[in-house]
Subunit: 364 residues, 2 copies
């Protein structure tokens, strides 16, 4: 194999495939990138056996072939090259020469035949989203997924299609975020539930930029995301997602509106005194006033009031401050709405169109 | 005590005193800031028992007094305040109220009387430097000091005054950096050697910005640095610094000039293959050519050549790449000079005026 590619294209393409590589994989070849030269194209392929990512760039191919190169070193080398183009050539000893300007690297690889094959599957259906729209859906819910390894089913996000509508959901059992969106081509869509692992959700957020669409192919056990020249295929988390609808209260006795940014600032300030203690912040409502309070036996206390339109009975609800902060950072709206019944029942936050967040109060 | 200060001044002043605070000090009061209000001034004081820092800001003082406030929390609180001014008021229970806009914090402190006193000493002499000049001296040598706790004397930098000249030196036994500078008021200066702890050198680099001078007071066991409204006092490292002059070769058989930035780039690229192995890079000279080479049994090899004016015999010298990189980052000069004898004897790097760096070759 011998090829030449523009340095900046190779840097950009490597950036897309390197994140999922586990440098301490028990299968040594998995810490490498598989590069394949065919016709006028170079493809870069990495996998952790759960997720595969392939990306393609135009290349000047002198001779076809394959090679594997240690992923982290390949990234480091290419990012420091100063020449406009990089020439990559692999010999029969599995040694790959990488040259640009006067710099020459000879890097030892492993046999490309050891590399796992790309996952292939027959999709049940195909969806398409504007990249930015899909990115926003992920950002608005992903912080709510669980990292508790004993509840694998919650270590990801649910994409649920029902009658042509998408509901994206994440929950860790103490709070839940969802976004609902009406899809195009409703008639052609089949009802289905897929659970994407958190690692995929994180990768997708890095890949989804610029104009254009992401195309998604779904089967019962796999999903593929096609973003420009990059294809990410993943295994889905198996099992049934909990019935998330049942945690959303059917009715509320009261609601208030709050300016999102100001509420976020006040919350960040007041919660400083409990940041390390894991204590709650108390959100109290009285005539046209909301007060956030926090106190810890070690540090002291803090409070700050905000003007709100509220005419109901005085009420105090205690929250984990981080559970309140997360959606405030992810939303774009100027105003958000809190709906509630009393200090024990779940509270709902609404903001951007289609967004709903449920948070359980803490017993104070 | 009750005072009011502009929020931005308090943020800026806290930034200067917070770094040296050890949050896990065995003496609890040391994780606090001592604040003292007198006349129209608020002073902030912190210490780790080796170093003391005091800084002063203009304040609207309603009543005098002192208080201690947990340093880290104080910094976090003040940095999130949105009001233009902060009001600080301490009650008889050692609780300090910090308020700005609608935000109110009540933070528990410790008794100001528990706070150690500021170190006082009688100076032998006083020096003065332009702040930026002194900052550059520190930057050009500090990376060479040792972190080996068994050689405390090398865990700092030497400031040596002889006949009106300053030599600033740092070494870890394998490389040595020094800067020589002719001082003003030569006649009034007494010969002396002081060793500043690395922590002080790091702090000074954060404090030395903007126009103006730093005034330095020295005794046998202490030093004080006066930078605008901030005063840093430190204990000196006790003992005799090694005779560093004896490691600088008296003569050289050869020398070459290299463009600093280009040499730095080439070195960064080539050394990627040995970054984790701790191996050397080989610097070879032949007719008008310098070649940097590196190889590791795990990764592979790299080489890159540079044009240089060299007419001597072919020669190869091996270096620890990090020891070569450090001064290249700290210098400002376009061209640097390497002086050498053979592959075993110390090599000297010259660049900015007054700068000299000695590096021991590695046995390859």
């Amino acid at each position: 194999m011998k090829i030449s590619v523009p340095t900046h294209s190779l840097i950009e393409s490597l950036r897309k495939v390197l994140n999922i590589v586990n440098p301490r994989s028990t299968l040594p070849v998995l810490s490498n990138v598989l590069i394949t030269a065919t016709k006028n194209e170079l493809s870069l392929f990495t996998t952790d056996l759960e997720i595969c990512i392939t990306t393609k760039i135009s290349a000047d191919v002198e001779s076809d072939g394959q090679a594997t190169i240690p992923a982290k070193k390949f990234g480091q080398i290419v990012s420091t090259l100063s020449g406009e183009n990089v020439t990559i050539e692999t010999d029969s000893e599995l040694i790959t020469s990488i040259s640009s300007g006067k710099a020459l690297f000879k890097i030892m690889g492993l046999n490309p035949s050891e590399f796992p094959k790309e996952t292939e599957f027959q999709e049940n259906q195909t969806l398409s989203f504007n990249k930015i729209d899909f990115l926003k859906i992920l950002k608005k819910i992903c912080y709510s997924s669980s990292t508790d390894q004993s509840r694998i089913i919650l270590n990801g996000i649910l994409l649920s299609i029902r009658e042509g509508n998408l509901t994206a959901v994440a929950t860790d059992g103490r709070r839940l975020a969802l976004v609902e969106k009406i899809l195009d081509n409703q008639d052609s869509l089949i009802d289905c539930d897929v659970i994407l692992p958190t690692k995929v959700v994180n990768e997708l957020q890095k890949l989804l930029d610029g104009d254009g669409d992401v195309n998604i192919k779904l089967s019962d056990s796999n999903a593929t995301f096609i973003i420009d020249n990059t294809v990410l295929t993943t295994k889905l988390i198996e099992g049934s997602y909990p019935n998330y609808r049942q945690v959303i209260p059917a009715s509320f006795t009261n609601s208030i509106q709050l300016p999102r940014e100001n509420f976020s600032e006040v919350l960040n300030r007041v919660s400083i005194v409990v940041n390390e203690s894991g204590s709650s912040v108390k959100f109290s409502l009285d005539q046209d006033e909301a007060i956030l309070e926090a106190n810890s036996t070690e540090i002291g206390e803090a409070n700050e009031s905000m003007q709100v339109a509220y005419q109901g009975d005085p009420l105090s609800i205690s929250f984990n401050p981080n559970y309140l902060k997360d959606p405030l950072k992810a939303l774009d709206c100027d105003e958000l709405t809190l709906r509630f019944n009393d200090e024990y029942k779940p509270v709902v936050m609404l903001g951007d169109e289609g967004f709903l967040y449920v948070i359980m109060p803490m017993r104070s």
